[in-house]
Symmetry: C2
Subunit: 316 residues, 2 copies
Amino acid sequence: VSPEFDLIARYFTRPAPTALLGVGDDCALVQPQSQAALAITTDTLVAGRHFFADVDAASLGHKCLAVNLSDLAAMGATPRWFTLALTVPRIDHAWLAAFAGGLFALAERAGTALVGGDTTAGPLAIGITALGEVPPGLALRRAGARAGDGLWVSGALGEAALAVAVRKGRLAAAAPDWRRLDWPLPRLALGEALRGVASAAIDVSDGLVADLGHICAASGVGAVIDWPSVPLGASLAALPEGLRRDFALAGGDDYELCFAVPAEGEARVADIARRADVPLTRIGQFVEDGGVRVRDAAGRAVELAQGGFDHFRPAT
Amino acid sequence: VSPEFDLIARYFTRPAPTALLGVGDDCALVQPQSQAALAITTDTLVAGRHFFADVDAASLGHKCLAVNLSDLAAMGATPRWFTLALTVPRIDHAWLAAFAGGLFALAERAGTALVGGDTTAGPLAIGITALGEVPPGLALRRAGARAGDGLWVSGALGEAALAVAVRKGRLAAAAPDWRRLDWPLPRLALGEALRGVASAAIDVSDGLVADLGHICAASGVGAVIDWPSVPLGASLAALPEGLRRDFALAGGDDYELCFAVPAEGEARVADIARRADVPLTRIGQFVEDGGVRVRDAAGRAVELAQGGFDHFRPAT
């Protein structure tokens, strides 16, 4: 029939044992666990805005699923199913095979199954909607942080933003860890482990200060970041202080989790870090109000050069 | 923060009483009914391929949701929630308000709630993923048709395809019912009423012959359409026979349901038509094999001029 169906059949139909009915009917059919709430998130990546049009297809397949799974992680949800809306300018079999390879490798690793696909012709863009499950009372919302809660972040920040700057030719002398930009790993085990411990969480996609600002706005609190305690990507060490701050605090694309932990939960954090196999660092605390502020070692306010990622600002 | 969030907050955040948590966190949270299966479908509409870039924004908002709800209808599912991935070339407030108006008017009418949104800059495209619920044993799959089942279609066919031809300037002397192209109504009540009666169903989006072909392929049967019994849109009456056939059998965009009914269910069809408030017509029957064939009044084979909608064929 039409090439749309051939593409889905050829590249995007894999066994989906967790579905009653997978790709190839009017709808997929799945059976949610009774009692679990369903977490739903959707993110679209557009060539030239969210990625370079000539990026490696396998890493693109990986990354567009990873950014959606990162939203599930930030909710404490377990990934179950996802749909793919793929818009490509032309049918390039090598590209499609590589894209599907990257996509499904992460899907299998994360235990999620593609259950619906739609392929159309047009400027390159990838839309994914991901579904996960979480006990409704244990979901990690943005709105639960309270003044006095500790402010925590996973992993290290700034490596992906540095990689973007190098790829754009704005910085020549740095050697970023490209995997942090092209193959980010969503913190799924961490999100699940934080259920019942963290009072609020978000994933760091638009930059730490911007994303932390969403927790503060939703929770009606402020936050103070102690800049010297922020964990930096190793490649940032050689950079001037101002660049380190920009990349780590406002760079985005980190896909780490930023979360709030009440005092009574702090004793459990070390064990969670071990179980989820990721460093967790206390970088400040939530306060009554005042938005997000950053302090240096002397307690002075640090000014930032730029805000978070703006989806309507040209990429280059 | 970034304009992305302003757009979602301003135009796409409405109360979603059926959600535990709506737009504005990392994920939405919803509580599926225990026992129900979840039907999932995704469709992207791209400017210049699936619609004219200058189409009325309100009708576009309506239609991009309608085509997804039509897939739920074809599954016999009850709409519950949907996500929107909106890519727009610029921020045009009048356009966004009109688009949201058309979208939400249909959402309210259909009882479904927007629970996740993503807005990015780029060539105009709208991706929707729709979720519905259906008792798992009663879902209308494509694969259940058997030789001997009656072949049925709802409403009338060809009106939307005629409207496309007129809008493109290919036919001047016709007066199509524009609502069938711009404001299609998914057959949701019909889909629910057909649970337990129809043995297979599909919605007519790519053209009757092409879509019926999907039922035949999935069910391992053939089908014979009696051309004189196919219900035609009123505006097709004045057209030459060849055009009537092309529009009604291969035109697409009808969003009617095509379905199979075993002999023991035929007695219930009249009552279902009354309850769903839509004419239902028996247009042929399923046979052992041979794909989809069309017969004229004398029983002779009818040849068709074109296939179904091809997502990689330029729109104009």
